[in-house]
């Protein structure tokens, strides 16, 4: 069984699906190690977008003519694909948004205006992306609520005792990241959700970095909200998903007003459309949704088993190899990690390292990774981050290690 699964995963064949991996950067074959920022796209997704615009484009949910109906069908089929992909109970609970950032803003604003009041609290963690900090700060300020932050330990794991101590009946929502983009930590979201539910507190999970690597079942997690971006999971930019339990979405006021989200409009009173359309005002990103559906199909064809196994191999290989470099310190050494290795090299500024790697054709991210409070926690200006997708191979990591060695020689 194991053997067949491995045979099914042919890394060379997969790499050929991604045209960008054949490109050069600064005259060198590109070594792309920044998939956590945004992944590359397989030809299947690119072709589907091309196809849609060439042969299938019309506005959705409006026209009586065939072309519009076909576009609507393709659009709604993609919603069904996403629903199955995350095992949501109903299509009503799958809302298309621009990305993870918009998903969080939607909940913060809409849930917040309905359920968060003076003296209430919102609980996040110290390893959140700015997009899971700022929207909560905004709504807390508006509603006179308190933003509580659960601390992170030296290894980059949430201090669960501290989190549970901050979780009381004043907390109206917990919002946390499934997989940290800066550290790679996989958080025990299921345990946290169960604990919050004992107090009837809903939980939003920022799944931006989880979906590309691990199978997510929103029902098994019992997450109240789960959001992610298409562009990090091999789909187009500008499209993402917010899953929300119907019982919350029904009670929440609309986020944006406009076409599509209404049932009837008079100047005196507007009634809103049903879920999920209530939260999808205006012409949606039709091609984005269709491209996202194709990305889901592509990921399913590769298979999460293969993805996880291959990426874990890469992660342990990279961790081992990087540790050999003198003065290199890995930031984020949690027991459970996904495809991210963040590090600093003693006496070397991340910016310098990134600039030299760039000239060697190696794309990594440097800086604070939109997690400034987390960098402050470790008292570092930022890190160099290498992140993998299933299309990376060991040769990519060897190139990275050789590049770092070369850069460090120059910089020290």
């Amino acid at each position: 069984m194991e053997v067949t699964a491995q045979q099914a995963f042919d890394i060379e064949k997969i790499r050929k699906d991604f045209p960008l991996l054949e490109q050069e950067m600064n005259g060198k074959p590109i070594i792309f190690l920044d998939s956590a920022a945004s992944s590359q796209k397989p030809a299947q997704v690119i072709d589907r977008l091309n196809d849609y615009y060439r042969t299938g484009h019309a506005n959705v949910h409006r026209g009586v003519y065939q072309l519009s109906q076909e576009a609507t069908t393709a659009f709604e089929e993609a919603r069904e694909l996403v629903r199955q992909f995350i095992n949501a109970p109903s299509e009503k609970e799958v809302i298309f948004v621009r990305g993870c950032t918009e998903g969080i803003n939607l909940v913060a604003s809409s849930y917040g205006r309905k359920f968060i009041n003076q003296g209430d609290a919102v609980l996040i963690t110290a390893m959140e992306h700015h997009s899971n900090i700022v929207p909560w700060q905004m709504i807390c300020e508006e509603r006179g609520a308190e933003l509580r932050v659960a601390p992170v330990n030296d290894a980059g794991e949430i201090d669960l005792d501290a989190l549970y101590a901050l979780l009381d009946e004043r907390v109206k929502i917990v919002s946390l990241v499934h997989v940290s983009n800066a550290l790679g930590t996989v958080n025990p979201v299921k345990a946290i959700i169960d604990r919050a539910h004992e107090l009837n507190v809903p939980v939003l999970v920022d799944g931006a970095q989880a979906i590309p690597h691990t199978q997510v079942d929103v029902q098994a997690l019992d997450a109240d909200f789960y959001t992610f971006s298409g562009h990090k999971m091999f789909g187009p930019t500008g499209i993402g998903v917010l899953y929300g339990k119907e019982k919350w979405l029904e009670q929440m006021p609309p986020y944006h007003g406009g076409g599509e989200m209404i049932k009837t409009v008079t100047f005196e009173k507007t009634t809103y459309n049903e879920l999920p359309h209530k939260f999808e005002a205006g012409t949606p990103d039709i091609s984005g949704v269709i491209g996202l559906g194709e990305a889901v199909k592509y990921m399913q064809s590769v298979g999460y088993d293969n993805i996880s196994r291959h990426e874990h191999e890469l992660l342990s290989y990279a961790t081992e190899q990087l540790k050999q470099i003198e003065g290199l310190r890995i930031i984020g050494t949690a027991r459970e990690k996904a495809s991210v290795v963040s590090f600093i090299v003693e006496g070397v500024h991340p910016y310098d390292l990134g600039a030299i790697l760039d000239k060697l054709g190696i794309a990594v991210r440097t800086g604070h990774h939109c997690t400034q409070p987390l960098m402050a926690r470790y008292e570092i200006p930022g890190t160099v981050r290498a992140s993998f997708a299933f299309y990376n191979n060991k040769a990519d990591i060897d190139a990275l290690v050789a590049g770092i060695n070369r850069a460090v020689l120059m910089l020290k």
Binding site: N26, H349, Y351, D352, A355, I356, K359, T366, G367, H368
Partner: protein, 141 residues
């Protein structure tokens, strides 16, 4: 030709010798070591130009309508580029600094380091250098 441009041309000639990027960067890193460093007392919040990626400190002194710059950065490539900017602009007349067209950056292939997306503090630093030039020039008239 004013001095600013002749120094720029000099730098362009120097860089023409390098075969590849690694040689260029080695040279830039070396240049950083000769940067006239900002005095400790000025290395504070007031003189800090914050970039997302790297930080830059800049100080200006004027004498007789000319401006002398001292600076520093926490990243060595940034520091080397600052050394080039200081070499071109420091000790020049305030009005010429304010109006300088820094074409050498592009010519030696360092334009990307001065793009706002790099967010390394260099773009703001060049602006700041010119602002000093403007302010000192205005004062002396």
């Amino acid at each position: 030709m004013n001095q600013i441009n002749s120094i720029q041309d000099e730098i362009i000639d120097e860089f023409a010798f390098f075969g590849d990027w690694m040689e260029k960067y080695e040279y830039i890193i070396d240049l950083g070591k000769s940067l006239p460093l900002i005095e400790e007392q000025y290395k504070n919040e007031e003189h800090l130009i914050k970039g997302c990626q790297s930080q830059v400190w800049l100080h200006a002194d004027e004498s007789e309508g000319k401006v002398d710059f001292t600076a520093d950065s926490d990243a060595v490539i940034t520091k080397g580029i600052i050394a080039l900017l200081v070499r071109v602009l420091s000790g020049q007349k305030a009005d010429e600094i304010a109006q300088a067209d820094l074409y050498f950056i592009d010519k030696i292939g360092l334009k990307e380091h001065l793009s706002p997306t790099r967010s390394n503090g260099l773009v703001s630093m060049v602006k700041q250098m010119k602002m000093y030039g403007l302010a000192i020039n205005a004062k002396s008239q």
